[in-house]
Amino acid sequence: MKASRVISVLRRHLTVYTKLYLSSIALNFAEPVLYLAAFGIGLGAFVQQIDGMPYLNFIAPGIIASSATFGAVYECTYGTYVRMFFQKTFDAILATPVSLYELVAAELIWGALKSAFYGSIIMLVLALFGLLPSALILFAVPVLFLSGLLFASLAMIVAAIVPGIESFNYFYTLFMTPLFLFSGIFFPLTGLPPFVENIALLSPLHHLVTACRALAYGQTGGVFTDVLWITAALVLVIPWPFRLLRKKLIK
């Protein structure tokens, strides 16, 4: 594995991104504002306080975590799949000295960078609304990169095994949506029946949300455990996109 070759692929993605998608960056600002309006102001009018904080403040760090996560997941499901099968970009790259493992590594790192980048943008918006009291939230950026690698790996595993692009619907409906709803973004998991709570505690997004919320309030106590959990899951998952794509592309 040569770093310079991984970087050459990352620079391809960056060139495309700055050319085609940077103009749509305003949409990334719009999304968290919509969430805040709907849940914070709309729903927040009925829910007074959770864990001793206003509802808007409660959900803000979770919005950072979920937007970052979806950034990585979209990139490494649809994005990777389109490059791999429709545009044949992978075939072109693999005719050069870049190896399949270098290419997969670049895809994962790109997904993780998007996670950190999207998270940072949303952080900025929420900070402007005064919803992030502690500057410690900045430490969430590397955590978002780490969790981004984990979610990018999960997404690429799915991209490697789906029979067609429409099958991603199963992954989003059966995995991502429950993850989004039951990871403690909108309500604390303690309110759930114990067995559901135990399942929800396994959600990697839950650990990311908890870490972001703690940092947003300047607490560092539980962050270490959450980061450790994310790291352990990453170590377990990350070999699989490499193995499965090798099988898929080289047969």
């Binding site: 050459s8 620079r11 060139t15 495309v16 085609l20 693999l94 190896s99």
Partner: protein
């Protein structure tokens, strides 16, 4: 000097032998063609030489290096023009060349110089900033050819370089290939066009169902077996090239 050497080279997909124990050697500077109908094993052979598919068994050496051991080093010295259009549709003409060169570790300044020369060579100089989707089929094919030349390769591999092109575009690609031959670059191509094989190839390997049934100069093949290459193919395999 042989730049490619294959011995008992085999590639299986499940129980199907796409390439079944072939031997061949390609000499530096020659234009070597694999001739045969679809499914003869030409593309699979090319993919093994370009280190994309590992052989199931047998030996394959390119520049005296095994494709299993040194794929990165081998690919750095090859130029590959695939059958399907895999130009980067998110990038324009010049960006396609610059980004591709970067995969070889070639910096932007050097890549710009080289891209400028090469685009002149294929008469696409005026189209630096054209999006890929606005190029005609023939232009795309020519652009894929120069993309394969960005790293100054010692062997250029062309998989069905003119399939699906109109006669004028085909002639234009042939002209470029002839110029490359004059520069003593090794050319390796697959084709099912008799005319292409006769015009360009110094030697032809006739492939049928994963095997090489004959290797020689087009002229010798035609003299030995009588008729043109189409007749030679029919005689050796009992089938036509369209089959």
């Amino acid at each position: 000097m042989d730049v490619v050497r294959a011995h008992a080279l085999t590639r299986k997909y499940g129980d199907f032998f796409a390439v079944n124990g072939i031997d061949f050697a390609i000499t530096q500077g020659e234009c070597f063609g694999f001739l045969g109908p679809n499914g003869a094993g030409k593309t699979t052979t090319m993919k093994m030489i370009s280190c994309f598919l590992p052989p199931s068994s047998g030996d394959l050496h390119v520049f005296d290096m095994s494709v299993c051991e040194k794929p990165g080093e081998i690919k750095a010295r090859l130029g590959v023009m695939p059958q399907e259009d895999n130009l980067d549709p998110d990038l324009n003409v010049i960006e396609n060349l610059i980004v591709y060169a970067r995969y070889f570790g070639i910096g932007k300044r050097e890549a710009m110089l080289r891209a400028g020369e090469l685009l002149k060579f294929i008469e696409l100089s005026e189209r630096n900033h054209t999006p890929i989707k606005d190029l005609s089929g023939g232009m795309k094919r020519r652009l894929m050819l120069v993309r394969a030349l960005m790293n100054n390769p010692e062997i250029i591999m062309l998989d069905e370089p003119t399939t699906g092109l109109d006669p004028a575009s085909r002639r234009s690609v042939w002209d470029r290939m002839n110029e490359l031959k004059f520069n003593n670059t090794t050319l390796l191509l697959t084709t099912h066009y008799i005319e292409e094989a006769e015009r360009l190839c110094d030697r032809v390997a006739i492939m049928d169902r994963g095997r090489i049934v004959a290797v020689d100069t087009p002229r010798t093949l035609m003299i030995t077996h009588g008729g043109n290459l189409e007749d030679v193919y029919l005689k050796l395999t009992g089938r036509t090239l369209e089959g």
